[in-house]
């Protein structure tokens, strides 16, 4: 049970309306209280997409709907959404108000379904779960209620080299656009065809329709998103390859790609294995050329660079970054803080994944969504040398208190704009390096 939370690092279930916003030309329709959309917009910032933010239709529950139910209002809003907005997919998400009063949302969306509209509904009452969890609920609802309508044209597992990739919770992972684009580039480099499903480099709803055709699914996540691939396994018999943290930099990207190739071979993908191997080598060479150039700076720069790091983020980022920073920059991970409200059954694995970054040292791991309490723990800890704190906007003040460098990479943050930067892959590792050391150098005035 999670109790009090200070400094929220994620939002509630209805925050997964951003999962809809991430699909090109899709619109979330909020059947919720009036402030829900604003809260979500304010949490993520610069996240309106095609028809999110102030554009999203909303029933704006009032006292009247709480007392008499809001289905009539919902019907009217949906009907007029079709007149006002030009969209390819409509996903009705519900807030606490609709959840508690018990509105029968399906009965309303069914009316539009009968007219052949591409409409989906999903319960996302805020008290139900977090956006990390309900991201899966939204994706699964779209699969059950929309993708299912195109199954006759898309036989299960009919394309040997097609995979569906699930790696980021859009917007919650600030680098989702760049990361998905880079995953796509890497997997295409190996010879796969890839459905990334979100962002401008996906094929929108048409791409979603082909989900059943994939030979298998790729999940890059410690726990969030797993219900999606499990659902697809049940539904289409697609097995899934799981890599439980973000592959950042040389070692882990190569490990990810090689393990993926092994998995593909076992599942009868028909790739040009030699070409795939060459692709990895070329990418690695380009990566290590940079690391080689940089090593002198890392080893010789005399004016103070960070020598240890604390990260406040979700499990996938903490595990991916600790490995990368230790082995590929020499920054030693000290206490690490996982703030994604990791479910009980995954905690041991998450902790093990982070600790496994090193067999030479013990990395203390704290898992708790109450990030304010975790900050207090860190306030009481001192290490020698310059520290680096990587986290959300909340952590900037802490970094200042502790005289640490600070890098903003997590929600919520007013201190950084992320557009299409990627942190995964070889190029992502290089970008992390640029960000950390440019930050350090920018302090010399």
């Amino acid at each position: 049970m999670a109790g009090l939370i200070e400094q929220e690092r994620y939002t509630c279930a209805i925050g997964a309306l951003q999962t809809v916003v991430a699909i090109p030309r899709a619109v979330p329709i909020l059947h919720s209280g009036p402030g829900c959309g604003t809260m979500i917009k304010g949490f993520f910032e610069r996240s309106s997409g095609y028809a999110g933010g102030d554009t999203s239709p909303c029933t704006n529950f009032s006292e009247r709907e709480v007392v008499f139910g809001g289905t009539d209002r919902l019907r009217s809003i949906i009907k007029n959404t079709y007149k006002v907005l030009d969209t390819d997919l409509q996903v009705v998400v519900t807030g606490c108000t609709a959840g508690i009063v018990g509105d029968d949302v399906a009965s309303v969306t069914d009316e539009f379904l009968d007219e052949g509209k591409p409409i989906v509904h999903v319960e996302t009452s805020g008290f139900k779960s977090s956006n990390y969890v309900s991201h899966s609920a939204v994706v699964n609802a779209i699969i059950e209620q929309y993708v299912s309508r195109f199954e006759h044209e898309n036989p299960p597992r009919s394309e040997k080299n097609l995979v569906n990739l699930f790696a980021s919770v859009p917007y919650q992972d600030q680098f989702w656009k760049g990361n998905l684009r880079e995953f796509k580039r890497l997997l295409e480099g190996l010879g796969f065809r890839v459905n990334i499903l979100f962002g401008p480099h996906s094929g929108g709803v048409k791409e979603w329709q082909t989900i059943p055709r994939a030979n298998f699914n790729v999940l890059v996540s410690p726990w969030y998103g797993e219900p999606i691939v499990k659902n697809l396994k049940r539904r289409y018999g697609q097995p899934y390859f799981k890599f439980s943290y973000l592959p950042i930099g040389g070692n882990e990207t190569t490990r990810f790609l090689e393990e993926l190739l092994d998995y593909a071979r076992k599942h009868h993908a028909e790739l040009d294995w030699k070409r795939a191997r060459t692709f990895i080598t070329e990418e690695e060479n380009a990566y290590y050329e940079e690391l080689d150039n940089l090593a002198t700076f890392l080893l010789e720069f005399r004016y103070g660079l960070p020598n240890h790091v604390h990260i406040f983020h979700d499990a996938g980022y903490v595990a991916g970054l600790t490995r990368f920073l230790l082995h590929e920059t020499g920054i030693v991970p000290k206490e690490q803080f996982v703030v994604d409200n990791t479910p009980e059954k995954y905690k041991a694995q998450v902790e093990a994944d982070i600790k496994a970054a090193s067999d030479q040292r013990e990395i203390p791991v704290y898992i708790d969504p109450d990030a304010g309490a975790l900050q207090d723990i860190l306030r009481g800890i001192r290490h020698s040398g310059k520290g680096l704190i990587i986290g959300s906007g909340w952590d900037k003040e802490l970094a200042e208190e502790k005289d640490c460098d600070f890098l903003s990479i997590a929600c919520p943050t007013p201190y950084r704009i992320v557009l299409t930067t990627n942190y995964i892959g070889y190029t992502g590792g290089l970008r992390v390096i640029e960000d950390i050391y440019n930050n350090a150098l920018a302090q010399y005035q």
């Binding site: 200070e6 009036p34 009032s62 003040e397």
Partner: protein, 491 residues
């Protein structure tokens, strides 16, 4: 009967207390006429299509989060406070404007209500949360803001906070601001101020030479102004402390940056603690600036000083204002903003020789809590500068704004709410949002604001380019309809 009642835990929402509305289409003059002596009998109109509004809980938080030494607990699911980090940012970046060198971390908590709490109640969780926040943050006061979920399941927040207050010995204040209660998110301001008025403000010990300024976090213009009269501003509530709030009752008078914002607290300070309030709406445009300073002088017994002050300001700024009028002559504008501030902007535009072509104002209060006609900003604007066509009361409904802007295509869009400038820019209209609510006040404000407007109009390369590449999710059908197609009818 007074609109202020500190004996009850929950202040009435604006729709009921002031008769405020969120739907109107006509001219500004027609709206003023419809309100004349109606004392809240305006007829509201609903929309059969609507987009996301704001809600009271974040506006209540807006009045509480920036109090230096208080802590905030949102009693609800984790999502109901996830935008409050924005106030933490504001506090940090604007602290220097109020002479705070080391802004401290904001203390913002959520009781994190979950499904089982909606069945068994969240009271126990709230009790535990208050104790933990007291231990962890050592605040001088704790504010508990409520949410839809907490409101519907019926947690007894008032009893719990009163018990905690007795136990801990600091004010623990229940602030009732469930989103579904009101379509007017400024009801959240009233909720926050009601909490402060009933639990924080104490009776005066003595009168002091301070003037309460109910505002957000704008620049410190009042310090220089009040110094001329021998007074200092006491800013409420951002950057105040629980202590300075407690003794706001000792001020000589209260002024407001925006009558919509401070309506309730200004009236409460006057009616309960005898602090007179400047009735006149804030000093935007020459006519209103003169009225405002004269009322200030009258209350302070310094009428001659006020006249001398105005004379000096005129001499200094009128030549610059004349030059700006020449530069901006005949330019058209459209305004979208909260009620009183938006109405003040219309005055400011007219004062600069521009022609307001319309406005989308988030709601309309036919009367404020002080029930004085002098506080009616829109009435002043219409009387001083003439009628404004296309005056739409519209609670941040982007689809109407897009449609209207596309028709009117003004030379500039002035907005004062995040997200609203985007559509001006997408349509190639220079768009300006000035976050500092004090920026346009007084004679110097007219010049400063006018220069920003002229700059925005004259530097339009960016919006022209954006227009060429703008993505538009609105249907062709919609762009051809009357903008108020969905207002007041079941279309």
């Amino acid at each position: 009967m007074s609109k202020v009642n500190l004996e009850i835990p929950e202040v009435e929402i604006r729709e009921i207390r002031l008769g405020s509305i969120t739907g109107f289409q006509g001219t500004a003059g027609e709206l003023v006429g419809a309100c004349g002596g109606c004392s809240g009998r305006l007829k509201d109109k609903n929309r059969s299509f609507s987009q996301c509004l704001g809600c009271g809980t974040s506006n209540a938080a807006c009045t509480l989060t920036l109090i230096q030494d208080a802590a905030i607990i949102s009693h609800g699911p984790v999502g109901c406070s996830t935008c409050l980090h924005e106030f933490a940012f504001t506090y940090r970046v604007n602290a220097h404007l109020r002479q705070i060198e080391h802004p401290t971390q904001r203390k913002i908590f959520s009781t994190n209500l979950e499904e089982k709490d909606t069945i068994y109640g969240g009271g126990k969780k709230l009790e535990a949360a208050i104790r933990e926040v007291y231990r962890r943050a050592d605040p001088k006061a704790i504010f508990v803001i409520t949410t839809c979920a907490a409101g519907i399941i019926g947690d007894d927040v008032e009893t719990i906070t009163n018990a905690a207050e007795a136990e801990l010995g600091i004010p623990v204040v229940a602030v009732f601001c469930e989103g579904f209660r009101s379509k007017i998110w400024t009801s959240g301001f009233d909720a926050g101020y009601h909490g402060i008025a009933r639990k924080i403000i104490k009776p005066p010990r003595e009168k002091r030479n301070i003037i309460n300024v109910i505002n957000f976090w704008g620049s410190d213009v009042f310090r220089e102004w009040f110094a001329e009269f021998g007074y200092e501003p006491n800013y409420i509530t951002p950057f105040s402390t629980v202590d300075t709030l407690s003794y706001s009752s000792e001020a000589a008078l209260t002024v407001q940056a925006c009558s919509t914002l401070g309506s309730y607290l200004g009236a409460a300070l006057e009616q309960v603690y005898g602090v007179p309030e400047i009735r006149n709406s804030p000093p935007y445009g020459i006519a209103q600036t003169d009225r405002w300073f004269r009322e200030l002088g009258k209350i302070l017994g310094k009428e001659q000083e006020a006249e001398a002050f105005l004379q000096r300001k005129k001499e200094e700024y009128m030549p610059k204002i004349e030059a700006l009028r020449e530069r901006l002559k005949g330019k058209t504008a459209y305004v979208t903003a909260g009620a009183s501030h938006g109405q003040s902007l219309l005055a400011l535009l007219s004062e600069l020789g521009m022609k307001p072509q319309g406005a989308a104002i988030f709601h309309h209060d036919p009367v404020y809590d002080n029930e004085s006609p002098d506080a009616d900003t829109l009435a002043h604007t219409v009387a001083d500068y003439g009628d404004v066509p296309n005056y739409n009361v519209c609670n941040k409904q982007e689809f109407e704004l897009v449609n209207v802007l596309n028709r009117i295509h003004p030379d500039i869009l002035l907005a004062r709410h995040g997200g609203m400038t985007l559509w001006g820019a997408k349509l190639g209209i220079p768009s300006l949002l000035i976050g500092d609510e004090h920026f346009g006040m007084g004679y110097e404000g007219l010049v400063a604001y006018g220069e920003r407007i002229a700059d925005a109009i004259e530097n339009d390369e960016f919006v022209k380019n954006l227009r060429k590449h703008a993505v538009n999710p609105y249907t062709k059908w919609w762009m051809e309809q009357d903008p108020y197609t969905f207002l007041g009818r079941n279309f």
